[in-house]
């Protein structure tokens, strides 16, 4: 019997993540097609309709990019946190918290200048996201409590809190039976660039550039990478690893909060349980599939935004929108599997070694 040994390749193709993504995407689409076939739908018909309704016109393309905005921002947050080798599974809750914080400031204070007001409100959303991750972050750096479970559980807490707010203190009497908070005024709506494309996407481009610079070029990014590596190296380099991890967590949570703020000011215009439709979870896929690279997150996030829009519109055909989720998740699994062949070599050895 022959045995196989695997070992890491010394030289790994720079574009391997990109190739794995393409292979993964084709696997994802294949599995999506099989599911559609089983359900008695014509996959080519469904996918071409999805394509047309997500990128076919300026109007639909701009909707797709709007949908991509929270995915990209939350994904960027996850990628910053991952540079210290930590995980943020709580982006979903942080998106809600961003919206909640924004609405809280909006109804508590009146700011006469609407431009200034929008900027302040978005900053509040960022702070809201940071507050949401504060406890898991403190528990992690002070006591070493597993941040994966704490950030995830916070999703349930924040979403429960949202349900409470929109059914109780913030319930809009005019919304009839649908539980939602009162709409924010038109003066704080985010303006559009063209079509339906909101300025949120511009903020998103700026954040992508900022995070790219922060992670790849700045001293801070270097310190983050060291902090995520060995504890001894950080001590030798004179870096306070825990402090860096804490800051990274707060920034990452803040970016997800900002995503919630933008979503509120540009799309939903009010706090409701529909403020985020699983963006925080999709953002994890987006970040992981790109190997946490900011520019990759921007591209894949845009694509997944289109896929989500496509998934929503095919609901009218009687196809469940969960098909988009399945395609996204299987794409990542496919990418993980093909990544193996780019990073490892397999050696066959005879039994007598």
């Amino acid at each position: 019997m022959n045995k196989y040994l695997i070992s890491k390749k010394i030289v790994i193709n720079d574009l391997s993540t990109f190739y794995s993504f393409l292979i993964g995407l084709s696997i994802g689409i294949t599995i999506g097609s099989i599911i559609l076939l089983v359900q008695g739908q014509n996959p080519i018909e469904v996918f071409s309709l999805m394509l047309r309704l997500s990128v076919g016109s300026i109007k639909s393309l701009s909707s797709s990019l709007n949908k991509a905005t929270p995915l990209i921002l939350a994904g960027l947050g996850i990628s910053i946190i991952n540079s210290v080798k930590l995980w943020n599974i709580g982006a979903e809750g942080q998106i809600f918290m961003g919206g909640i914080a924004l609405n809280f400031i909006y109804i508590s204070y009146q700011i006469p200048n609407s431009k200034l007001s929008i900027i302040l409100l978005l900053l509040t959303a960022f702070v809201g996201g940071s507050i949401c991750i504060l406890l898991p972050a403190l528990a992690k750096v002070l006591f070493g409590v597993n941040e994966i479970i704490t950030t995830l559980l916070f999703n349930y807490i924040i979403i429960g809190f949202t349900v409470y707010l929109v059914n109780g203190p913030w319930k809009d009497p005019n919304s009839l039976n649908f539980p939602a908070a009162t709409y924010v005024g038109k003066e704080v709506y985010l303006p559009t660039v063209f079509g339906r494309l909101s300025y949120g996407f511009i903020i998103c481009i700026l954040c992508t550039a900022g995070v790219h610079y922060l992670k790849e070029k700045s001293v801070f990014g270097y310190e983050l990478r060291i902090s995520g590596g060995s504890a001894l190296t950080a001590i030798y380099a004179g870096i306070n690893a825990k402090q860096k991890a804490f800051i990274a967590l707060l920034i990452g949570g803040g970016l997800a909060g900002l995503a919630g703020g933008i979503e509120l000011l540009s799309q939903t215009h009010r706090v409701s349980t529909g403020l985020s439709q699983g963006f925080g979870y999709t953002a994890i896929i987006v970040a992981a599939i790109t190997g946490m690279r900011p520019l990759g997150i921007f591209l894949v996030g845009s694509l997944f935004g289109a896929l989500t829009i496509g998934g929503t519109v095919i609901q009218t055909m009687g196809v469940s929108s969960y098909i988009a989720d399945v395609i996204q998740a299987t794409t990542l699994f496919g990418a993980l599997i093909s990544q193996f062949f780019f990073t490892y070599k397999i050696k066959e050895v005879t039994n007598d070694v």
Partner: protein
């Protein structure tokens, strides 16, 4: 007398909620013992829940439903095993995606089953409407409850007293040493991951065929994550995990009853308390143990023969 019935009702609900959490946590414990972290518990429960429900609605055969539910969750877990054990990819990423895929896939599968009535239900050992003492509560539980107790004893025995259990622990603590002793690390980890998935599947079947006998999307509502917290709480030991399951089950059972006990609370806020208390318990426990949690040393680290 009235108070007694209320108390027994609370105990009853505690055992029911605890059973689900415990079985899922026990499966995860077995997986983690081998050094593989599987964050996909939520997704695996969901897969077990929907497949079990589908089979039950279509055939009315309970035994077959449980079998299919367990088997399909186990098969689903083998995806994680393939990606992390054979292909050595990141366990955190793979596990998270397993959760997302499990939730969306089960929603897709169960789309036609939302609102369907169940022709059969997993029965209790002895039907007692309003148990009035502890003994009556204990003998009137669902069959899965007793299966859970059996699995607890069996798992503790297998882990401590059998070759398979010792092998599992050796692989999870030091896979390099285990490998040089001639153990097949990959095989052990693969089996442990699939067994863990099967346990989650059983928890899922229990969820749809007894605990809440219907199917809706995302009905696992974070229980898989609480099960993960439970493994940490139990220090990777079956009996201590059972104690934890009772505690967490008690929280889940107590919360909806608080209002009947005269506490003025918003029902919406009450719903989030189990999650909040889980976080608090996790933090307090980690501080108390000072970092020595009892986790298998190799957890999350892929094993390579050639990593010298």
């Amino acid at each position: 007398m009235m108070f007694d019935i209320q108390l027994m009702g609370l105990l009853n609900a505690t055992l029911q909620a605890g059973t689900l959490l415990f079985i899922a946590a026990l499966g995860e414990l077995i997986t983690e013992k081998s050094g593989i972290l599987n964050l996909g518990v939520e997704g695996m429960i969901s897969i077990g829940a929907v497949t079990g429900f589908m089979v039950a609605v279509n055939t009315g055969n309970l035994f077959l439903s449980v079998l299919i539910g367990v088997f399909s969750a186990s098969l689903f877990a083998s995806l994680h095993a393939f990606v992390t054990v054979i292909l050595k990819q990141d366990q955190t990423v793979s596990g998270l995606i397993l959760t997302i895929l499990g939730l969306s896939l089960s929603a897709l599968l169960g789309k036609k089953y939302v609102g369907k009535k169940l022709p059969v239900k997993i029965e209790s050992l002895i039907e007692i409407d309003e148990p009035s003492n502890i003994f009556e509560v204990l003998i009137s539980q669902n069959y899965i409850f007793y299966l859970g107790i059996f699995l607890m004893v069996a798992t503790a025995f297998v882990l401590k007293k059998t070759m398979f259990g010792r092998r599992l622990e050796a692989v999870g603590e030091d896979s390099r040493a285990a490998d040089s002793m001639g153990l097949n690390v990959n095989k052990t980890q693969f089996i442990a991951t699939c067994v863990g998935g099967g346990f989650s599947g059983l928890a899922g079947v229990y969820l749809t065929l007894s605990y809440v006998p219907y199917w809706t999307d995302n009905m696992t509502s974070g229980r898989g994550w609480i099960a993960l917290a439970l493994v940490i709480f139990g220090g990777w030991k079956p009996y201590r995990t059972a104690v934890g399951a009772l505690l967490f089950g008690f929280l889940e059972a107590l919360v909806p009853r608080l209002q009947t006990y005269g506490f003025e609370l918003s029902p919406y806020l009450v719903k989030i308390t189990p999650y909040a208390i889980t976080i608090i318990i996790l933090i307090v426990l980690t501080i108390y143990k000072g970092g020595r949690t009892g986790a298998p040393s190799n957890i999350g680290i892929p094993f390579f023969r050639e990593n010298r």
